[in-house]
Symmetry: C2
Subunit: 354 residues, 2 copies
């Protein structure tokens, strides 16, 4: 369809590739989209060949999503300027530390079509003491286009294997949400849409800090009553954190995949929980560095850095007392507090107000 | 304190005994309560002695909560009339199938003091086709006294062992909630109060049906994305079910222990999940009866009967289409539908409205 909007997936990691796959399954089904889905590839050589060539020839991202066949209407393009000038819809799915530089680069080409739209799939928000900022805001401000957000309980590989899951789109303009629901919804990837873009992103970013606390419970050998309590307190603190810093928050997202479901999966399994359990088992005496080396082959944990960032924000805003779970988790992870302090913090004779 | 209200725990199972313990730790701390806590014991002989005598002499409920020392201000009383005429506050914590007969019996003595109060800790509601009724309503109507509700992510034994957990009190009159929070709140058992008594009870009752669905996910070998999606859909259906049948529902309870936390623990572990996993593993060909015999020593599962009761209510109210998870879970559990139908039900091309 010559008149359909062309979609560009910005990012070719495992989640970017899984998303390109499902989007490319949908674009031929609707006249509002061009069949071809562009995936922007930051070119690199893998097994002696360019990654973009591997994707376009073998229809597989052999480096980041091996074993998954990609639809033939995915076109890997290593030239960023070409990606931008050819596309109408941008799906941003890159590591959070690269969002600002990538957006600046996209802006610098100055070739974006008027009427373009974006959706942010990055799991993370900007947390730097005084500043709490969603990437949707950065994208809207810098690129001058509307930006929605998508998040959910989604392990990339499992979505790529078409295991049933759900995700949540947060929107400001309902018409845009209708369009993006068509683009993303698959029988194995069901999309619910909620008003407001911030809550979806805040949950996606900060759940990892709660997973650290949940992992401490596991490492301390605490039972399901206690772990459920910590997860519940975490859910509440994420929600209240969102309400403190953003205006477009309502309870809808708690009921959605980006809210409660993502929190559950993140706190039940995953690297943050396992590493935090190891930390607590050793009474906080084993360093995160050693744990990352032993358990993650040197990769960095996201939950611990989220903990630290959230804590600094709370201090900068004088809000430590309002977020006891975030604070005690930070104190255990970074200030030498005993892991058992996690429970002692809440185990007191003060009656909770209501 | 001669003027303090006397508390009577109606029920001496493991949860009743654990609750008597924590309440008896609190009554001496507040002038509004009489120190002594009565526990009504339906007399039985255990190891050659009356259960009430064991509790009063050994300060331990050796039959239902062995190994846990009970405070000496707990007084086991086997005479129901004496329990009623001596008390001001009734904590109802008996198996749900005995609520109606017990309430009728209490009423028949006609000795209840004016100004008495009750709180319902029974996990269950009445579900009989056309009738959906909370036990708080039965108690209020039959006994003519206000009745609150308490529920949460609480395994009795763990609460008795003072492992940290939380619970939720649902109330109509805030003053009553203030009183009951004092009565129940312990450093290891933190109480939040929410307005409305029904949601607390509906969650406590129907979560078990969702646990059956969650167990099917486990038995089918599905990943965390999928199980989280099913739990999320279940959370939504419980909440919507509550909204359909009761007027005092708001989203508060979802954030509380009686809501999301209890659902999480119930769907992650416990007998309903394990037995449903076994059922799905055998493609639904192994009977519940056999599974209960093998895995529970012949005890009955609560989740399956809840499933059946909820289904009959939905049929009687023509609401099958609004609760697809409850319906498909019933169809798998009782109508020979394949376990994989659980996912097929949601895995479709229909876009979810918003």
């Amino acid at each position: 369809m010559a008149t359909g909007k062309k979609v560009c997936v910005v990012g070719c990691g495992n989640w970017g590739s899984a998303v390109a796959k499902l989007v490319a399954e949908n674009t031929p089904r609707y006249p509002e989209f061009d069949d071809t889905v562009i995936i922007y590839v930051l070119e690199e050589v893998f097994e002696g060949r360019n990654l973009s060539e591997i994707i376009n020839t073998d229809h597989e991202n052999k480096k980041y999503l091996p074993g998954i066949k990609l639809p033939h209407n995915i076109l890997a393009v290593p030239d960023p300027k070409q990606c931008i000038q050819d596309s109408d819809i941008f799906i941003i799915v890159i590591p959070h530390q690269f969002v600002n530089s990538t957006v600046a680069k996209i802006k610098s080409f100055n070739v974006m079509k008027p009427g373009s739209l974006a959706i942010n799939l990055v799991k993370g928000i900007e947390l730097t003491e005084k500043v709490v900022n969603c990437f949707t805001d950065t994208i809207e401000k810098e690129l001058g286009i509307p930006c929605l957000a998508l998040s959910g309980a989604n392990v990339a590989k499992n979505v790529a294997m078409e295991e049933f899951s759900e995700a949540t789109i947060g929107y400001k303009n309902k018409e845009h949400a209708v369009l993006f629901q068509r683009l993303f919804d698959r029988p194995y990837f069901k999309i619910n849409c909620v008003p407001g873009v911030s809550a979806v992103q805040v949950f996606g970013a900060i759940k990892n800090a709660v997973a650290i606390a949940a992992g401490f419970c596991d490492g301390l050998g605490l039972g399901s009553n206690t772990k459920a309590a910590i997860m519940r307190i975490g859910l509440n603190e994420i929600y209240r954190f969102a309400c403190k810093f953003f205006k477009d928050i309502n309870t809808d997202v708690v009921f959605e995949s980006a809210g409660v479901a993502d929190l559950i999966t993140t706190c039940i399994g995953g690297r943050n929980v396992r590493c935090a359990a190891e930390f607590a088992k050793h009474g906080g005496k084993k360093s995160w560095h050693d744990i990352e080396n032993e358990m993650l082959g040197g990769q960095k944990l996201q939950g611990t850095s989220t903990c630290e960032e959230v804590y600094k924000v709370l201090v900068a805003h004088n809000m430590e007392n309002d977020f006891p779970l975030f604070v005690v988790t930070y104190n255990i992870a970074f200030q030498g507090a005993e892991p058992a302090e996690l429970i002692r913090k809440f185990s007191n004779e003060t009656l909770n107000p209501f």
